[in-house]
């Protein structure tokens, strides 16, 4: 203990000394070039300013330069630089430039293009503004991957569905017609009336919408399910050593079970291997959640694959009806339910876990929509691997309509 104090004291003294006198050892600062300046009076400054040509002079400079390339209607970046008025100039003074433009034998670019359009952008394309509706000119170039003209449809879904070839009843999936054949079959077939998915598009198309030539947003990366209001119990955090006045190296965690060895990372300097083993044992015992507040045991068996989870997600989302104009579209809702081995929802297990956003009425509406989605699309049971039943017997599903609001 005394040795430690000595070491610590020496270290601190050394550090303080280095901070105080370290600069003495550092190399001298590099020399700075000094330029002589002269001070002028306000009158002299005004005189200098008066001698500088204002926007009119800049315009005179620019106009003769652009006709060099008559075939290129887009102004060259250097010309734009020269035409751009000084920062202090108001937008209004640009009018004289427009008046002088007829002297130029080429079409005069609009003033707005000269001042606002970035050099790399085509002249005819207005700069898109976020959250402001803009009309894209008819001659705007299409992106190579631009989708076809969006059409209006009564249904908006992640995947577009073409209108059915004939008038069929609407269903959540396409069903071919199954009718008894004229020849007697050994195995009787269940008759099935044909049905088709409703025609759908991927976005709301209003009357004011032109064909969508604007770049579409890229798909967001998948988010981890959010833990809402009533979340599952979190595992007990790693117990922190209690602060002690005594310089005991490691205190026992207060809530640690008695049968667990207390973390004593530095009690004995004896065997290094023992210290490593203890640390590993402590970490793994904490991870296994054997404390009093530990969550329930993890389901046995291999976890669901990403594809299996995706299959379930797709099945439910095809029945999740969102009304983007309602207050419920601002509510993220989490529900929980249990499935039987056939993949059907067990009666009365579907319940609200939590909601985020909106008032109580909106949350109720959002919950109803989520409940209908789960119940409507289960049909004869969700298709899930029976051998992994423990993994999907209990499901917590979050419905987040944020992306739907922007359609």
């Amino acid at each position: 203990m005394q040795a430690g104090t000595v070491i610590s004291g020496a270290g601190h003294i050394g550090l303080i000394g280095w901070l105080l006198f370290g600069n003495l050892l550092s190399p001298p600062p590099t020399e700075v070039d000094v330029q002589p300046v002269s001070i002028i009076s306000e009158a002299e400054f005004a005189q200098l300013q008066a001698s500088v040509q204002a926007p009119g002079a800049a315009t005179d400079v620019a106009v003769p330069e652009t006709p060099d390339d008559v075939s290129d209607p887009a102004p060259n970046p250097p010309a734009e630089t020269e035409v751009t008025p000084p920062p202090a100039a108001e937008p209004a003074p640009e009018a004289p430039a427009a008046e002088e433009a007829p002297q130029v034998p080429v079409p005069t670019p609009p003033v707005a293009d000269v001042t606002d359009t970035p050099p790399e952008q085509p002249e005819a394309v207005p700069t898109p503004q976020e959250d402001v509706a803009t009309l894209v000119p008819e001659d705007a170039p299409l992106r190579p991957e631009a989708p076809p003209t969006p059409r209006q449809a009564p249904r908006i879904a992640p995947e577009p569905v073409a209108p059915p070839e004939r008038d069929l009843p609407i269903d959540v999936e396409n069903r071919p017609e199954v009718a008894p054949s004229e020849a007697p079959a050994e195995v009787p077939l269940d008759q099935q009336k044909p049905s088709a998915q409703q025609e759908s598009t991927t976005e709301i198309v209003t009357e004011a919408d032109k064909p969508n030539r604007a770049p579409t947003t890229s798909k967001r990366p998948q988010l981890r399910p959010q833990q809402l209001a009533v979340a599952q119990p979190e595992p007990e955090p790693e117990p922190k050593p209690e602060p002690k006045a005594e310089p005991k190296p490691a205190a026992k965690p207060a809530e640690k079970p008695a049968d667990k060895p207390a973390p004593k990372p530095a009690e004995k300097p004896a065997e290094d291997k023992a210290a490593i083993d203890k640390a590993l044992q402590e970490a793994l015992s904490g991870a296994s959640g054997t404390g009093s507040d530990a969550p329930k045991q993890a389901p046995a068996g291999p976890p669901l694959t990403a594809g299996e989870k995706e299959s379930l997600r797709l099945a439910v989302q095809s029945c999740w009806v969102v009304d983007p104009g309602s207050p419920a579209a601002h509510v993220t809702i989490t529900i929980a339910f249990s499935l039987d081995r056939s993949g059907k929802v067990l009666g009365n297990t579907l319940k609200l876990v939590g909601s985020d956003g909106g008032d109580a009425g909106a949350a109720q509406s959002a919950f109803d929509a989520a409940r209908r989605a789960v119940l409507r699309c289960q049909k004869e049971g969700y298709t899930l691997p029976v051998d992994k039943f423990d993994q999907w017997s209990d499901i917590e599903m979050t419905f987040n309509p944020e992306k739907m609001r922007n359609l």
């Binding site: 992640p158 007990e236 917590e396």
Partner: protein, 446 residues
């Protein structure tokens, strides 16, 4: 004594620190399977509404008519899709008998509406129930309305309102009316008069004759009075009309050559309007009881079309003070306005949404007229319509639908009323006899 500098001890501490995060990682896969769904579908909710059951012979025809109006109300929103009766498997023969959910599940009906009608003399009783088919339970409890035979459509609208509210958790708008300017005759000799009708175009009544031009009627918050502008005296003046008695009086706005564009405050005690005096148009407000008026703007530009926020604290209006016609918001007591529209074109006739979060407007840009909406800070502008001439938006009482006037091009062009959902979907014409313009939606009737 502990030697803290030993590499092995430091390594052990690092392991302990690193694996401190392990519990969360390892247990993230425990418990229920967690799935997040971020994409759904936007489509009308399928529902079934078998014809209401007549509880006595006199109710036979009315029961069928009532259920049809309910279905038209719901389907007309664009949020619901009626499954035709021909596709029904089950039937409802008694209002009190239990529902066979399997029959309605089989046709993918998510909601089922059953009802019954009884007629005793002039008295009509309508009751209904709403079921969530896939949950196998009733949504809310049954409800009953009593009225007269003349008011059967209102009773149907009341039923539809209740169904709409129970499913969407929003207020509804079916039991409401619209006051508008009915138009007849060619464009250069058009006769205009005030008219009032149900929101769906039924029960039209005329409130004025066509001896003088009338413009821009606006309901009071209680729906019993209407403000409008008339050229009856030769110049535009504001009139206040009682809907029940059709009695009217001119509002003494005091100063000015012309007064027009009136609108009630949410409490119904104050009127805001525009006054033109010496070529300058400004906005005034007047207490209806005392007749005392206050000038709210004083710019040498045209300020008009004022509309109160639902809480009455602010006013949105149009002005050309910046050179072009744009939208501004100011305090209800006047003061420096804040510009909220900055897009291309001209913006006019702003109307504050009953929800308080949006402003509907008319926009003229590149030779076309649009009805659009934006947030009250000017963000999120969306154009919902586009045509030769769209103008004069008015909100449904729940802030979900916008009605407006659309005029077709040419000498024989006529004006008609249209409605569109706030999302831009479900654009449709409101049926009227002859031409119609300047609609104003009433609050929900009580």
């Amino acid at each position: 004594m502990t030697r803290l500098t030993r590499p092995s001890t430091i390594f052990a501490a690092l392991i302990a620190l690193t694996t401190a995060c392990l519990p969360g990682v390892l247990t993230a896969q425990s418990g229920p399977l967690r799935i997040e769904i971020t994409e759904g579908v936007i489509e009308p909710l399928p529902y079934a509404i078998p014809a209401f059951v007549p509880e006595n012979p006199a109710a036979g025809q009315l029961a069928s008519q009532l259920s049809r109006v309910v279905a038209d109300d719901l389907t007309g929103t664009g949020l619901f899709r009626e499954i035709p009766t021909s596709a029904h498997i089950g039937s409802i023969t008694s209002f009190s008998s239990p529902v066979q959910y399997a029959d309605w599940k089989a046709i993918n009906a998510e909601a089922l509406i059953t009802g019954a009608v009884a007629v005793n003399g002039d008295q009509v009783t309508v009751k209904f129930r709403l079921y969530d088919v896939f949950s196998g339970q009733e949504l809310g409890s049954g409800l009953q309305f009593n009225g007269t035979q003349n008011g059967w459509r209102r009773m149907a609208h009341k039923v539809a309102d209740a169904v709409y509210t129970r499913i969407t958790s929003e207020d509804a708008y079916f039991d409401s009316r619209v006051v508008f300017v009915a138009e007849n005759g060619p464009k250069d000799e058009r006769r205009k008069r005030l008219a009032i009708m149900d929101y769906d175009g039924a029960n039209v009544q005329y409130l004025t004759d066509s001896s003088s031009i009338v413009l821009a009627p606006r309901f009071s918050p209680s729906g019993d009075r209407v403000l409008y502008t008339s050229y009856e005296s030769g110049v535009p003046r504001i009139y206040l009309l009682d809907v029940a008695s059709v009695g009217r009086r001119v509002l003494n706005t005091g100063v000015g050559d012309m007064s027009f564009s009136p609108r009630f405050s949410p409490d119904g005690q104050t009127v805001v309007y525009s006054v033109t005096q010496g070529g300058n148009t400004d906005i005034y407000r007047m207490n209806i009881s005392s007749g005392q008026s206050t000038r709210l703007t004083s710019a040498p530009s045209i300020e008009t079309a004022p509309s109160f926020s639902p809480d009455g604290s602010r006013i949105v209006f149009e002005s050309d003070r910046s050179g072009g016609q744009q939208l501004y918001i100011m305090s209800a007591n006047g003061g420096e306005p804040e510009r909220i529209s900055f897009g291309e074109g001209r913006y006019g006739t702003p109307v504050w949404s009953p929800r308080g979060d949006m402003v509907a407007f008319t926009k003229q840009s590149k030779g076309r007229f649009h009805i659009g909406v934006m947030r009250t800070d000017g963000s999120g502008e969306r154009l919902l319509t586009a045509s030769f001439l769209d103008e004069g938006p008015t909100w449904s009482p729940n802030g979900r639908v916008i009605m407006f006037a659309r005029e077709t091009q040419g000498a024989s062009g006529a004006s008609a009323l249209y409605s569109v959902d706030v999302t831009g979907r479900n654009l449709k014409r409101v049926p009227t006899e002859g031409g119609a313009s300047d609609p104003a939606w009433s609050p929900l009737q009580r």
